[in-house]
Point group: none
Chain length 171, copies 4
Amino acid sequence: MTVALEEFAEFGYHATSVHTIAKKADVSKGLLYNYFESKEDLLKEIIFGGLKTLSDIFDPNKDGILTEDEFDFFIDKVFDVLKENIGIWRLYFSLLMKSGVKEIIKEPMYQYMEPFMKTLNDYYKKQGKKNPEIWSVFFGSVLDGISVNFISEPELYPLEKIKKLIINVLK
Amino acid sequence: MTVALEEFAEFGYHATSVHTIAKKADVSKGLLYNYFESKEDLLKEIIFGGLKTLSDIFDPNKDGILTEDEFDFFIDKVFDVLKENIGIWRLYFSLLMKSGVKEIIKEPMYQYMEPFMKTLNDYYKKQGKKNPEIWSVFFGSVLDGISVNFISEPELYPLEKIKKLIINVLK
Amino acid sequence: MTVALEEFAEFGYHATSVHTIAKKADVSKGLLYNYFESKEDLLKEIIFGGLKTLSDIFDPNKDGILTEDEFDFFIDKVFDVLKENIGIWRLYFSLLMKSGVKEIIKEPMYQYMEPFMKTLNDYYKKQGKKNPEIWSVFFGSVLDGISVNFISEPELYPLEKIKKLIINVLK
Amino acid sequence: MTVALEEFAEFGYHATSVHTIAKKADVSKGLLYNYFESKEDLLKEIIFGGLKTLSDIFDPNKDGILTEDEFDFFIDKVFDVLKENIGIWRLYFSLLMKSGVKEIIKEPMYQYMEPFMKTLNDYYKKQGKKNPEIWSVFFGSVLDGISVNFISEPELYPLEKIKKLIINVLK
DNA sequence: TATGAATGAGTCTTCATTCAT
DNA sequence: CATGAATGAAGACTCATTCAT
């Protein structure tokens, strides 16, 4: 799965052959098919597995309340997670556009994001914003945008300074 | 090329066959290969053609100066361009992650974006921001994020309200 | 299709590979798939094509009436058809038992056999048999039995003498 | 072997996988290969075992003489055996056409059939037929034909009425 | 006696590309 | 300028068979 993740993220789902994965993983194709029903199944397992890992790492405060102090910490945490799981995020974003695969991902992604968005909604409401939902959507889009750009070139992107800007502007 | 763009954007480069493109374009495969050296060549032509088209449509004020009044108009324009060329943008974003294609796109993409970024840089400098470049980068990321989300589900995304928020927050 | 028929008849549908067929037919696998959607489609085309050929050759008297004189001629004709199309009959009988393929064959086979059985029914009724349908079924079974045996070893089976016996016993 | 027989008879030799057989027999593939050298060996064991079983059940009167009274009983017995061992017969008939397997089956099949055919030969000689061997062959073919049809659709075939017809016509 | 993880050759099928016409 | 028949390499997947335990 690690190998497959790398290859999928690097070359895309279709451009990666099962043969390649098996070879790089030093495993026979047959064995691969003992554990995964199909190439698509392998993809699903990676995505769901990744999502699981992320949600384990990134379980929001059980209280579902976000204070201003936590907001800063939150921003930090989000991008730490991003940095540590750059492969899976690259895969995720590369799949996001493709119809067919998109459908597989979207639903669990939403489920994973939901508590986070709810917390955010409450936060912006508490901050006295008129349209907290729009602020949440905006916040999500901003995170996506930064992620896409950061993922594209992790070493060039001025992540730390951008973090400060986010806190400045979106808190 | 139009047909190919649609198919590539919808199903991805690999999942789209030359056969399909030729058929939908009501053209023989042979003829297609008279005009394009390969499937990859066709992709490149689309990308560069698309970039050309976009830069024709979306040429920023030649004076390179952005006033506060123009900022609003600017936001509108950006997303109008996005809406009108959703196919090309979807293609771009879907290719953005793939190594190999990424390299092809990135450079002209930057070139195309450059005057726009410069204008923005000047704008934020004029606004008295300490780190105008970071603001520009941030602005770019925000635009990317919104684009990715909007493109994914154009009819669900609250684009108009988000526009207002941008103007509110990033002007 | 001729090659495929031979191979299918000789080794069976599953034991024959598309590769083999293409090679023996001196044709690329790709071309084969230009004309037939799948291996199964190829099988169907052969069967239906064979059935068509047979029903062209063996169209019963349009009047649908069988006289005693015609009966003799009929027996001759039936086995002539069998001899001339031994390949397809061998294929047919080899497929008859397999569930899955059986279903594909059975219906068109019945359709093809129907006018023949009807004529036979009328014949036995005219001959004063109490259960003409049973006689027809019996006749059909006898023909199948002889066919199976004859097909198995065409050069050993005493077809001519058996013919006389049939006329003797079943007229 | 019972499971394998069922599967082979239902889906054919090639379409049945060792995996399926092992699973349905609630046995590991490894153990299966402790008892049978190969899938083909398993097939052979079934065939020979089946032949043995049949010849045990269906041993003709040791005296080798068939009276007219016994003929009726004989017909009954033949089809009883068929009914009770429908799986094996289906397998036999499905293999009968395949070269390679055919050769394996034919010889023991003949051996098994021989005393029966001899008895029949004597019977027809006693009945004053000019060509008793042809009558025997014919009888064999008729039995094959009825078997093939009956096996194909046991519940639809009018076996009892056909039996009476046989006795009527072939005694 | 029993398991099932592991293998890899082989299966059907697709598809970018060529080329005679 | 245009066709589409033809190719063959490559792809996903299956399955009989082996072997360490």
